[in-house]
Subunit: 251 residues, 2 copies
């Protein structure tokens, strides 16, 4: 069994629709490559009680928890103290990070707000990275990442080699133009029944030129089974009189 | 108090990173305009036990629940029977929808898979719409929408006039180039303290040309208070020696 993961997106700006989240897709792809099963994502507001309660819930239910957002210097950046509260530890200046940030800013500019970014739950390990001087951090099975995608990605890549790995997901796709789900559903269901441990998905698409079709995706941890199931989806498309095209449909 | 809402995104394709979700942002914006507070989003896999348990949880905790995904004709489209199970009602052919779909498809093509799309929890009200012949549906406080964005949007717009409305959110933004969060944090915190019922957010950005800056967003139900807070963010930017620019930074 691969380890499981939950992503906690913390931010009013996602719930208000101001900002389109793109971190979930990045993390989802990377976790899949690493053999970590992304089991759930929650998007919650910048509210202390909700963050603490949700953290306590998800860190008990999943092997790894990744949070994004709320670790900057402003008043609405409350993820770090909430993680401290969820773990029942104090939120204290982290000496090494404090010195690093102090040295980074011009004299007088390492103010109280910026010192918040050097304040971590006691016992946390900073996630230093190539993009931001202020680190993310890990404590127990919770990994706290930035909300800004470029910084979040650098933090995750710095963290990735330390994560418990599993079996990477193998995925194969075939698609067909002008084929509809209702036509292939019975045949696809048979393929799923023959491979109960795989995820066999069917995804209709519509291209900008108006042409429509459907992509059939076979996914799972058993590479040989995925290849066999994908071949079966290829054969199903052909049997229905359509041309199987390999991969995902071009955008 | 505005009514609260939760979005349940049902789909392995989001959790695997295959598909970038865009439905949350659309719904978030529209709910905000309608005066419905989006309190939480959950993204969960196409698994019966998880869908049923999550539905029971969130429909008790939020006034309105919107699901996206899993209402097509294929084996992995299991949202409708799961909603029936969560409500403790049978999943049965909906006569009017059945007749509608039967009339729509050429003879012989309204097969078992397509008949699934005319099968609804007993007591559900179909959400007919301008894009797809197969409807979404509402039962109690749960509204079941398609995953394909164009269809989801049509279903939501057909549903919107029937939803209990609240006070629309007022939002105003000012931004500045080359201003950093650490510099404005103390002043922004004072503005938040002066307006405890508003959400005052600070969002750093980086434009494709490399120029950076920060957007200050004031948001809330009390329009006069939002306008006053936004004016205070304008004045803060100016006081720090930067040029306040109105609105959101161009992409």
């Amino acid at each position: 069994m691969n380890p499981t993961a939950c992503i906690l997106v913390i931010g009013n700006e996602i719930l208000s629709g101001r900002t389109q989240d793109v971190n979930v897709q990045y993390l989802a792809r990377r976790l899949s490559e690493l053999g970590i099963t992304l089991s759930e994502v929650r998007i919650i507001p910048d509210r202390r009680d909700i963050i603490v309660t949700t953290l306590c819930d998800v860190r008990a239910r999943f092997d790894q928890v990744f949070t994004t957002g709320g670790i900057g210097p402003t008043h609405d950046d409350i993820t770090a103290p909430c993680v401290a509260e969820a773990f029942g530890v104090p939120w204290v200046p982290h000496p090494e990070t404090f010195r690093l940030l102090e040295a980074h800013f011009p004299p007088g500019e390492f103010n109280a707000a910026r010192q918040r970014m050097a304040t971590l739950p006691q016992g946390a390990t900073p996630i230093t990275n190539s993009v931001s001087i202020a680190p993310g951090f890990s404590i127990g099975n919770v990994h706290v990442l930035a909300g800004v995608p470029r910084i979040m990605q650098a933090m995750f890549e710095s963290l990735a080699p330390t994560l418990p790995h599993g079996t990477p997901v193998t995925s194969r796709s075939w698609y067909a133009l002008e084929l509809f789900e209702g036509t292939l559903a019975a045949g696809l269901s048979d393929i799923q029944d023959a491979h109960p441990d795989l995820d066999i998905g069917s995804y209709p698409f519509r291209r900008p030129d108006g042409r429509r079709g459907v992509a059939l995706v076979s996914k799972g941890l058993d590479r040989a089974a995925v290849l066999a199931a994908a071949q079966a989806t290829h054969d199903l498309i052909a049997r229905l009189g359509f041309t199987p095209l390999e991969g995902e449909p071009p955008p």
